[in-house]
Amino acid sequence: MTRKGRRLTLIASALAVIGVAIGLALFAFRDGVVFFVTPSELAAKTAAMAPNARMRIGGLVVQGSLSKADDRHIAFAITDNQTQVNVTYTGLLPDLFREGQGVVAEGVLANGVFRADSVLAKHDENYMPREVADSLKKQGVWNEGAVKK
């Protein structure tokens, strides 16, 4: 093979690999990506969204909304102080899940109820999921003193 031919082989294989990678990435972006919304955005966008689209919602756990049907069937509501979304969840709640605290739930919306399959709470008293912190700041209910270390 000539030097030119070798170079062509190299370029062709590089393009093939990169092409495959781009294809995989685009394919994976279709369902590997999850949007984050606030309860208000969720209410506004419900009609426009594909059914069974996975998403994350974040906000504060409504005071007094936590109820446990039995051991691990849990229901609570998330609010951004404008709109409230009811959430159901089966499983164990994280250590730092509290009423009145920030939380992020991931799952699908079905018949007006958000069915979560994972619930994330703050990692520690300084950490709040960034999306929640941002949306709380936007709504002016951010309590700087409580979160700042």
């Binding site: 093979m1 030097r3 070798r6 082989t9 190299l10 294989s13 590089a14 690999v17 990169i18 495959v20 990678a21 995989l24 990435a25 394919f27 994976a28 972006f29 369902d31 590997g32 990506v33 999850v34 949007f35 984050f36 919304v37 994350r56 051991d71 691990r72 499983g91 164990l92 709640l93 250590d95 730092l96 990692h123 520690d124 008293e125 300084n126 950490y127 709040m128 999921p129 960034r130 999306e131 912190a133 270390k149």
Partner: protein
Amino acid sequence: MIVEIGHYALVLALALAIVQGVVPLAGALRRDVALMAMARPAAVMQFLLVGISFGALTYAYVVSDFSVVNVFENSHSLKPLVYKFSGVWGNHEGSMLLWVLILALFGATVAVFSHGMPDDLRALVLAVQSWIAAAFLFFVLLTSNPFARLIPAPLEGRDLNPLLQDPGLAIHPPLLYVGYVGFSITFSFAAAALISGRIDAAWARYVRPWTLAAWIFLTLGIAMGSYWAYYTLGWGGFWFWDPVENASLMPWLAGTALLHSAAVMEKRDALKIWTIFLAILAFSLSLLGTFLVRSGVLTSVHSFATDPQRGVFILAILVFFIGGSLALFAFRASALKPGGIFAPVSREGALVLNNLLLTTCCATVFVGTLYPLALEAMTGEKISVGAPFFNLTFGPLFIPIILAMPIGQMLAWKRGDFFGAAQRLVLATAIGAGGALVLYALRGGPVAAPLLSGLALYLIIGSFVEIAGRIGGRGKSLSVIIARAIGLPRSAWGTAFAHAGIGLTLFGLAATGWGVERVITARVGEPIAVGPYEVSIRSLEPRLGSNYQELVAHTSISEGGAVLAEIDPSRRSFTTRSMVRTEAGIATIGMGQVYMNLADVRADGTLDLRLYWKPYVALIWIGALIMALGGFLSLSDRRLRIGIAKRAAARASVSGQAQAAE
């Protein structure tokens, strides 16, 4: 007073770093031996000064000097002594000081162990290294001063984040930083080569031990971080495709590619432009990781207090070094002569394929990590790119790498025999395929589990086929085989072990498909089945630690009535930060682990538990240890020792001329 000495030493280190960045550079450009000679003592002195500074901060932590803001915010007089030491870098300011310390350590190491190197190359390397040190010393002193005082001094500190009060903190960050920062040396070598315009096989020889050392520590650091997350976060996950983890994976991928392309450059004087580019890329990705973790762009346990000013500062450092080196690269790259030529099917060809796939893998991780940030910055829309994305992109790209690894080992330089190599791998392939079938018959599970474990077996066996061919043979006695095995270059063993380590890790990953997970409410004494074992909590015991209270569940694990292991999972309440942390109980049985986490204790005495049986899970980290062992073996190869490089350089230039004449 000692704290002020530490602060002052840091300022002196900065001043010295600026001098060391300028004088040897001028010396190298003007060929002035005296100016170049300044680099070595300066690099050693810089390390000593940063060391004094680091020692002063450690002292403040050990004696609990709460008049230092940093100590007040992150320590407590009752904190166990080991966490007073490791707590020094369990916060933003201290961890940046550790960064700078390791940066200076690498500079000093180059200064001391570089007898065989040309004077001008050494001077340039140390000058560039010192530029990086100066930039980060500026950063520490201007935005993250760990020595700031607090008057009046509080009586008690706020304690370290309980998640960080763990032996992992003593090990993970230093290992990871040695890895991250180790690539600064390869970067400095690349920049030095570009400045001097001499880029040849000898350069690859000088730079390889440093790349290898950085790679070893990065491998260990990532593995240690993964194991720490696994046992501390309480749900048995060990890799989350979290941006912070990706930030360490990207330099690892680029560094792995660099190791392999540097081998081609060293042996065959080819891929020069590409190798230099990878050296720049690996460190750029390390800087990007530092930026992502330290700037507060991302929120995680790794980002401590955030301050936008710091983010902008690190971004400026990032732009300066990446931009500057790429500009230099663009300026010089066109002048490089292409080196030795090779057929597509050859050792070089295989290594090019390795590089192509590894950098593409790296690119997919890069896209998945930064796309959400870019999207949010541009449209305000918030998304999270999670495990499904990376499994779909990274996975399919990594499988061909694994298939090609044993084949590449067996191809000859310049022109290889693909079918010959494939023929020698028949046994490995058969064991892989057979193993997959047997595992599927025995354990079932999702199809990916037996398939990937078969692939892992193929890789583990295949990694040693080449060595077996060199030391074995028909009718050879055992003593001949042993003598040959010892006589083989250590780097050959290093390659085999590093590749087999990947296989072991892959096997551990594949076996997660056979894991059992139970979320259950139980009482004391009630037996619970998990996989092949039975778990039973014998008793609960409240205990008092130095700065926490805990409830311990004494638990035994048995199989068929015989007790195999005892574990003590617990829930700890940390008083100062009023925070709860669970300590998982983990029992290693064979290569698998029973993992138990006390999620909740209720008023009526029942316990919410997470229980896992994870077969072969320990192989994930053992594989990483074996990879690192391979790296150490390679590092100990006599060909890489300093001084030998000089003779090899002479040889390489002779063979280079021979090729040019060809």
